[in-house]
Amino acid sequence: MLRAESLRVAFPGRILVDGLSLEFGAGRVWAILGRNGSGKSTLLRTLAGLQPPQAGSVLLDEVALHSIARRHAASRIGVMLQEETTEFWGTARDYVLLGRHPHAHGVFGWSQTDEGIAAAEIAAQNLGALAGRAFTTLSGGERQRARAAALFTQRPRIYLVDEPLQHLDLPHQIALLERLALEATQGALVIMVLHDLLFASRYCDHFLLLQGDGRFDAGPREQALDAERLSRLYGFPLDAVEVRGERLFLPVPPVNKGPHV
């Protein structure tokens, strides 16, 4: 579905990811893990075609992404950026409807289909009562849910989401992850940048671990996730524990300080 070929992603003066050749197949849920500044967001934006790679290329359905019309790409790839605007001219409903832009045919208005999809996604995010409110008056969590509603309103087949859980309370975090997982079971590809190891190991089946210096590890859960590798990735000791048959990774408490009383 989406393929990276000898991809090099860099920040001025620093190579973040080098030689990444990876097939991101349909139905998979990928997590990109790494420390702050390791290039997770930059890689995600590159995979979305929002910024050019320093070398190599990204292919969408075997066609180079940079040669595809933006509008067509947008009808296939939905992006949730880590930082999106908090300023907006209209209501929450106006905001969510903009997700239909890549699909809209009429010059001016929205079709019944567009309105219907937006209304359904607004309801799915528990925003029904807030739909008529000015976007700027929403709380941080409500704004994040409006962004999620706009993303699903776009009806992409590839979801590239950067820290989608930010500002959300626990039930809404789980609801969003369940929804993304559901999209994947229906044939979508999901790639997300996450900092939460619990949710990453529970909801993602493939992992891309960025060292931040060009090196990376990639693979399915059993192969990519172990305590030693994660400890090295984060530069912080982690333990694997088994809880109700689920393997979790917990940070080891600092030795000589112990828990604060």
């Binding site: 979305a48 929002l50 300023e87 907006f88 832009h101 010059v107 001016f108």
Partner: protein, 325 residues
């Protein structure tokens, strides 16, 4: 539906403003004679005043105000800055330098316009090229470059005002404040306004998306770089045209888009036509006051737009302090 109603009300206001300002002036024309003159039945001085003096001036004022409001709306999208004003990219300063130089050297109206056009194009092209370095567009650099170039041009203008003979200074000041007295034939400006609207209205939904920020808009399929250049060019053409018609009339371009948004039309599909109508009619009303308040003395209309526009916007802001944002 509610938005349609607001747009209709603004359109009605525009019609009333146009008819009303043909009627008032140093000679006020009663409704019956006005109707007769419009229908072409009347002849003589009233028909001459209506057809040869008032109507061209009112039409020019409407085009000028509409163009300024349109430019302001487009620039506020382009720069994502509520303080964006049609004059930030040096158009006014460049045009003023050309026109005042022509006035200083004693040239006539045609050469004044020509030099004004050259100045406006020169200044806005300079701002554009300086801010578009390395193929990467940066709104902040555009804003700063525009402000710096405008400041430089202002210094040059002050120098001309100091050097100019006393008799010429008053005309220069009128031009600088904005005055529709020398507007001339309104048809070219109206045509430019119509063409610009025809180009940008079908792209209104894209402007809505562009307000989400460059990267997000790109991810939703908007060709961001192309749109930004288009917005710049359209806004520059609108501003240059308006300045050549009425001098540097202030406040319309800054205030009208906010006014219309505060009335509830923030969606660009509604905001664009409503801004043009509101900008045009506001300028026409201001000019009617400028012509008639102390008739036969005539004010530069730019003074009136500020005097009218500022309290209206402040009232709306005070009334909608929470709802607006």
């Amino acid at each position: 539906m509610q938005r349609g109603l607001i747009l209709c009300l603004i359109a009605l206001f525009a019609v009333a403003a146009l008819i009303g300002s043909v009627a008032v002036g140093s000679v006020s024309i009663p409704a019956g004679e006005l109707l007769a003159a419009f229908s072409g039945k009347a002849s003589g001085p009233v028909a001459d005043i209506v057809w040869k003096l008032r109507l061209p001036r009112v039409a020019a004022g409407f085009a000028c105000g509409g163009l300024l409001a349109l430019a302001g709306t487009l620039l506020q999208v382009l720069l994502r800055n509520p303080l964006a004003d049609p004059y930030i990219f040096g158009v006014s300063g460049g045009a003023a330098l050309g026109v005042l130089l022509a006035m200083l050297l004693g040239f006539g109206a045609a050469i004044q316009s020509g030099l004004g056009l050259a100045g406006a194009i020169g200044a806005s092209a300079a701002v554009f090229l300086l801010s578009f370095r390395g193929g990467e567009w940066n709104p902040y650099r555009l804003l700063l470059t525009g402000v710096v170039i405008a400041a430089g041009l202002n210094a040059a203008l002050s120098l001309i005002l100091v050097l100019a003979p006393h008799t010429a200074v008053k005309g220069m000041l009128y031009w600088l404040m904005g005055d529709l007295g020398y507007a001339g034939n309104p048809v070219p400006a109206l045509l430019v306004l119509a063409v610009l609207l025809a180009v940008i209205l079908p792209l209104a939904r894209m402007l809505n998306v562009l307000a989400l920020g460059r990267t997000k808009a790109l991810s939703l399929g908007v060709p961001v770089a192309g749109m930004e250049i288009l917005l710049y060019v359209l806004a520059a053409v609108a501003t240059v045209t308006a300045v050549l018609v009425g001098g540097t009339i202030g406040f319309i371009g800054l205030i009208v888009p906010h006014l219309v948004r505060l009335l509830g039309l923030a969606d660009h599909r509604w905001l664009l036509p409503a801004s043009v109508l509101a900008g045009g009619s506001l300028l026409v009303v201001a000019d009617a006051f400028a012509r008639s308040l102390w008739a036969p003395l005539q004010f530069p209309v730019g003074v009136l737009t500020a005097l009218l526009g500022v309290p209206v916007l402040l009232l709306l802001l005070a009334g909608r302090s929470d709802a607006a944002r």
